[in-house]
Symmetry: C2
Subunit: 345 residues, 2 copies
DNA sequence: TTTTGGATTGTAACCGATTGCATTAGCCAA
DNA sequence: TTGGCTAATGCAATCGGTTACAATCCAAAA
């Protein structure tokens, strides 16, 4: 049971050439269907499995997609990966997954690994502090497609999958304003990243649209961790005017704010309304339940892989600079419902 | 920028044979260190990257580990994967990850894909309803090591990584009993899986140890989903005696129980104490915070890969039937604290 | 009967790295 | 000078499919 079966073995048994066997197994049209059948049968009998390396070596393609994400252990990312895996698997592609742990250095080294593994395409969501595109240049030069999702990099050669973060930020802020809030603190992440700068931009526009002046002091850039939540509450208490709402750019940090605020005796949403972002499972469980933005993670992963595979197989020769924008949705829950307290979600 | 550099190019430039170049790049002792240096230099200059396929084809190994998990989108699994990725990456191994979506059928097809991809080793956590070992026989026959973690299969050829589920189940149950509970409903998962049957066994033993009679009607086998949580509450209300505690075999379902119970007017833990399992992030956020069992996911992933790689490189020729048992820990929180209400966690 | 052309199948040169078995050079001792 | 030995390098086969370019066969057309 040790020896591997090759197309040569099959060829010898059936008195054919290995070329014919190879073509038959790949369903080449020139091969007689009866021949194909007998080849398929003996292949099955012998327990033949194709040697991917030999095949890749000759074909120069790997049927493997590389994925680099900031962290594997976040509910959003695992949803994304679940979506990716499902589509890739169906299309016969493998996924090579690695995490940058939010570090530019590790992202670079992962990119190198992917490059050496000769992935057919690369799917990336950027780390917190990544600057520049150097580590992806190799791919572009070798014409390996690179696609960014969620935390993207704007590059003429790369497709992107995002949600409309500006609109989402606008919607959240408008909602808070409609609830009567006029002093809204925005706690955000690293503004190098599109997701955060765009949400901020939506926040600004909503303020303007409602005639509220924008003030830089009301934007707090953090790492959006649990600790940042507490720090944000500290910061808030030092502001000249007490805010009546906080819009946090992620749920984890928003929840930590809620817990901290409750501990300090604030009532939510009566004293301060809170809104988060991502629709993390915890957002439904926390009390009061957290107003947030639904983020289609699984769908995003699925579409990213679909786009990539279409690109690779040439099904869609769409402009590689095309960008898919997915639908997000504001989920209004108790943490921000100052009016219509009756309508429960 | 299209042409790939090969060892032949390097050889030609330096007037050496490809054999020497290959050996130099692999740091073979027979090669003169000066020669090595000049080869390394020109390789770097030319932007050479080794062709894995050619190498794999010749070597018959892939430096890739296959991973099959029930779901990617669970906080426990993403912790496991994060741990795996870190170790594998450091050791120069790649991870090929796929999910069975809790279906035996998909698990089988994934195993086949892994087999055809010729992974050097396979790491598996079983789906909900998997029976039998057939789909892994191929690996055993070809001497590809298979390691099970968490949801394991007992097989003489396969290593396993687990926590002591029986002990954990015992500890949870004992704790509830110490809080004065005598009627403890146990909501569990598919009893084919070791993790659930072992926890159940711990539950039984704890009852016995405290002189409480075991009753089958007090064990509810479910799929541990959110819906199952509600169904469990329904079931509970139909029992002849109202339970004073529920021990649920996972946090997601436990939390859904809590929410349902609260909605029906029960006070937790005064009327009913609740305990979960896994230390999912939500368990800290729910109110009251959920007593649960800390599950070392990241560590489990790391150790699984470490064990596998040691096995592959022959560093440890330990009996393949060896089993690693990791430490878990009972985290007592408010949902079960009927006594000593002062000690907060 | 000869020609022509489509349908099948075969030949052989790759793809790029690895490695068992020489071979060569250089040095020391006999 | 010669033999022996070590260190360093080269030769050439090999891993298993793929594919451009024939070659072959057979029936239909001329």
């Amino acid at each position: 049971m040790e020896k591997e079966v090759t197309i040569y073995d099959i060829a010898k048994i059936l008195n054919l050439s290995p070329a014919t066997v190879s073509r038959a197994l790949n369903d080449h049209p020139a091969i007689n269907s009866k021949t194909k059948l007998s080849i398929a049968n003996t292949a099955a009998e012998l327990g033949y499995r194709s040697n991917t390396f030999a095949s890749n070596l000759r074909r120069k393609s790997t049927s493997t997609l590389g994925v680099i994400v900031p962290r594997l252990d976040s509910s959003f990312m695992s949803a994304v990966l679940a979506g990716m895996e499902e589509v890739a698997n169906k299309a016969g592609y493998n996924l090579l997954i690695s995490q940058s742990l939010e570090s530019q250095g590790k992202e670079k080294s992962n990119a190198k690994t992917m490059y050496n593994s000769r992935v057919d395409g690369l799917l990336v969501s950027l780390a917190y502090d990544t600057e520049g595109f150097d580590h992806f240049e190799n791919f572009v030069k070798k014409r390996v497609p690179v696609l960014f999702f969620d935390r993207i990099f704007d590059h003429s050669e790369c497709a992107t999958i995002v949600i409309d973060n500006e609109k989402a930020g606008y919607d959240v802020t408008s909602h808070l304003i409609m609830q009567g809030c006029t002093h809204i603190l925005h706690v955000t992440g690293n503004l190098k990243r599109n997701v955060y700068i765009d949400r901020l931009s939506g926040y600004r526009k909503a303020l303007e649209a409602h005639g509220i002046a924008f003030d830089e002091a009301w934007v707090l850039e953090t790492d959006l961790s649990r600790e940042a939540g507490k720090a944000a509450v500290d910061y808030m208490e030092k502001l000249p005017v007490r805010p009546d709402a906080i819009f946090v750019a992620n749920d984890i940090c928003a929840i930590s704010c809620i817990q901290e605020l409750k501990q300090r005796g604030y009532r939510i949403p009566e004293d301060i309304a809170i809104a988060g972002f991502n629709n993390d499972p915890v957002s439904q469980v926390v009390e009061p339940s957290l107003t947030t933005v639904y983020y289609p993670g699984k769908e995003m992963g699925a579409i990213a892989v679909k786009t990539m595979i279409n690109h690779l197989t040439g099904t869609s020769d769409i402009d590689p600079a095309n960008s898919v924008v997915l639908q997000s949705e504001l989920l209004i829950r108790d943490s921000s419902r100052k009016l219509q307290r009756e309508a429960r979600n």
